[in-house]
């Protein structure tokens, strides 16, 4: 297809240039920064950047709170992602089952939270969780949702609230794309609603579920807005609660080099997890 070289160039270049400028160069810059360290003399002496090799990475790997935050989001992800996607799948199947009237309304109602920016959603739920302010005093009186034992799951609820509808729609659209002849055949075989859902619909939309899972994993590792806002509502959210918060608070010190090293490690961890999940599902023969 050499003859289309100029067309390909035309299509790919605009995006490619912008991507190189605003993603690749900053990434290389961050990696380069992470290999440096500062030297200074005296209590107020000016700092100079000197090459430090893997000095910052040694710091990263011995930094307890950072790894605790990784563990924390890992726990968060293991619970929140399946719950959210399970509910999204369940709701999508219900919408598609023919049992529900007013599909248009529900689809919109469930999707609406996605319109709320993360910062705003967190502020709103922060109020709803606060024991003396919440309209749901019955819940907040029996369990302090902002205490250390609950706050992670309180945040999980915010994320779930925002993203269920979005994930549901992706899965639902995949269901709509399933050719109707398959259902006809199942009906003739005498399969009920649940059989059809379990053995035909779910396998057909597995690729959509895999996709939403990967994005949820990425989203979980990059949690930032919710915990940052919750810091002002709950005494249980520390400045290193999630890995991304750690990056932010480190760069505010300012320790640019260590912050860069944190983000490089975080990006690598995200890559490894998403890639491992994809490989795992592929081996299972999903795709």
């Amino acid at each position: 297809m050499k003859r289309h070289a100029s067309a390909i160039f035309f299509f790919v270049t605009p995006f490619g240039v912008l991507f190189a400028l605003f993603y690749l160069i900053p990434i290389f810059y961050a990696v380069w920064q992470s290999l440096y360290t500062v030297k200074r003399t005296g209590t107020f002496g000016p700092a100079t950047d000197v090459f430090g090799g893997f000095v910052q990475y040694r710091e990263v790997f011995t930094n307890g709170p950072f790894w605790e935050s990784i563990e924390r989001v890992f726990l968060f992800g293991i619970v929140q992602v399946p719950v959210m996607l399970g509910l999204a799948l369940f709701l999508a199947l219900l919408l598609d089952s023919g049992l529900v009237k007013g599909k248009g309304f529900f689809r919109l109602a469930f999707f609406l939270p996605y319109a709320v920016p993360g910062v705003v959603a967190a502020i709103m739920w922060g109020y709803l969780y606060s024991p003396n302010l919440s309209p749901f005093t019955a819940v907040t009186a029996s369990a302090d949702l902002l205490s250390p034992s609950f706050v992670l799951w309180a945040m999980a609820n915010v994320v779930t609230w925002v993203y269920i509808g979005y994930n549901m729609l992706i899965i639902y659209s995949a269901l709509l794309a399933v050719p109707t002849e398959i259902y006809e055949a199942a009906k003739i075989d005498g399969a009920g609603v649940f059989r059809t859902a379990w053995s035909i619909k779910i396998p057909m939309v597995l690729p959509a579920i895999v996709l939403t899972t990967v994005f949820s994993i990425i989203g979980t590792l990059q949690l930032l807005a919710e915990p940052q806002v919750f810091r002002s509502f709950s005494s249980a959210v520390s400045s290193t609660y999630t890995p991304n918060l750690t990056v932010l608070s480190t760069s505010a010190v300012p320790n640019f080099h260590l912050a860069a090293a944190f983000s490089v490690v975080l990006a690598l961890a995200t890559f490894i997890l998403s890639f491992a999940f994809l490989k795992f599902t592929q081996r299972k023969g999903v795709q």
């Binding site: 209590t43 100079t48 400045s239």
Partner: protein, 443 residues
């Protein structure tokens, strides 16, 4: 489209040199001498000033009208730790910091350590103004070094005791003048179904103010080394005292500055607040239902009969290293923070309490305040302002120190660990942060 293409091309070219330049910048900074010359520029200049004071435009407009040759362009954003400090650091690295910036006292050392501030010590107009400022505020900006000034003091946060006059009287509780009496009052308040106060677990500044009053010295520096002593005897005394109140459940611990926290005051659940002068406004807008029922008394003392106050907050107007017009910048900063017209406006629009000696006699600060039952509360603060100890120094990585101490405090109020433990942890983390920044520190 053409503009976009060109700017992208420029971006591409420039990024090729970005790495070389940004490290080179640091070297340049190292070779310039510490004290900038403070000569007036020839011709008209335009200064940029970044702050987060609400309605600052109104104040700057007054200056701009009177000074056509020194025009000030003001920019506002989130508060310091909310992002503006991080932006300052980034801008210093990129070389496009504004001429003037709003920096709280506790952040000044960070900026000085990053070599971001112009030493205004050689500016005559600045040196001559020293006597106008309350002594301890001048110490905050000069780091106690003669002939050096790294910012012009702007406002102060002398502390006093806000208390519910009506409830104290109704329950026959005397207004505490010492911390022992305060603890005794706490028991009585609890018996009456309230909390004596809400312990600020995530805003460490209040605790710092309490420790400051008790004579703590968290940081020191002798020119070659920093010292960190967040667990000195004075601090321990304060920590143990509050730990006692927490353990006996005599204080609530709602996160400060939340609607929930406002509600604790609005619903009469918390009866006192040891806070700074600007706190007067916080209660008034957060707890409107309690209007007329509050009063202000001097801070409780560790030794009966003493007169010592703490300080919570306060900021300065600093001139960044990159400014080409330090003289004009200093001139503006002095006007902003010493002239009666500016101080009056700052107080009216943004509730700032002046750092100058004369500032305490602004007409607005001599009036009775309805919310406090008509009491002339600012008289209490004016006196407190002169009772703040001058020798308290902040460290060069306070953002991190606060974050770590507050992480520990949050645990302590939920029953895991103690305040002293939290301070010990914060101290060792501060030391390791200093080291990772290769800032010399003596352990």
């Amino acid at each position: 489209m053409r503009f976009r293409a060109r700017s992208i091309a420029i971006l591409l070219l420039s990024t090729l040199s970005i790495t070389a330049c940004s490290s080179g910048g640091d070297d340049d900074a190292a070779t310039t001498t510490g004290t900038a010359s403070c000569a007036p520029s020839s011709g008209p200049v335009t200064l940029t000033y970044t702050t987060w004071i609400p309605n600052i435009e109104k104040v700057v407009d007054v200056w701009n009208k009177a000074n056509p040759d020194i025009q000030v362009k003001v920019q506002t954003g989130p508060n310091g730790n909310g992002g503006t400090y991080a932006n300052f650091f980034n801008q210093l690295k990129a070389g496009n910091a504004p001429d003037l910036g709003h920096i709280e006292y506790d952040a000044l050392p960070s900026f000085r350590v990053q070599d971001g501030l112009t030493d205004l010590g050689s500016c005559d107009i600045v040196a001559q103004s020293q006597s106008k400022f309350i002594d301890w505020t001048w110490n905050q900006v000069s780091f106690g070094e003669q002939g050096h000034v790294y910012g012009i003091p702007q406002d102060a946060g002398p502390m006093a005791l806000f208390y519910r006059k009506d409830l104290f009287e109704k329950n026959n509780i005397p207004v505490p003048t010492t911390w022992d009496e305060y603890a005794a009052a706490a028991e009585k308040v609890k018996a009456a179904g309230g909390y004596i106060t809400n312990f600020s677990q995530s805003d460490i500044n209040q605790f710092a103010g309490l420790a400051w009053q008790a004579g703590a010295h968290w940081f020191g520096n002798d020119g070659t080394n920093w010292t960190v002593s967040m667990t000195d005897d004075a601090t321990k005394k304060v920590a143990d005292y509050w730990q006692g109140l927490i353990d006996k459940k005599l204080v609530s611990s709602v996160p400060p500055w939340t609607p929930e926290w406002d509600n604790a005051y609005n619903s009469s659940s918390a009866w006192t607040w040891v806070s700074a002068v600007w706190g007067a406004n916080s209660i008034a807008s957060g707890a409107p239902k309690t209007s007329g029922k509050w009063a202000v008394a001097p801070m409780p003392q560790w030794t009966a009969g003493d007169k010592v106050a703490g300080n919570w907050g306060g900021s300065s107007t600093a001139v960044f290293k990159t400014s080409k017009h330090p003289y004009e910048a200093a001139k503006f900063a002095l006007w902003l923070n010493t002239s009666t017209e500016a101080l009056t406006l700052l107080n009216k629009e943004a509730n700032l309490y002046p750092a100058t000696k004369e500032g305490a006699s602004l007409p607005a600060l001599k009036e009775g305040v309805d919310f406090y039952g008509g009491q002339k509360i600012y008289d209490v603060f004016a006196e407190a302002s002169t009772e703040v100890k001058a020798d308290f120094t902040w460290g060069p990585t306070m953002t991190q120190t606060y974050a770590d101490a507050s992480d520990g405090f949050k645990k302590a109020v939920t029953g895991q660990g103690t305040l002293t433990q939290a301070l010990t942890d914060a101290q060792s983390k501060t030391i390791s942060t200093l080291k990772s920044q290769s800032i010399p520190v003596k352990e």
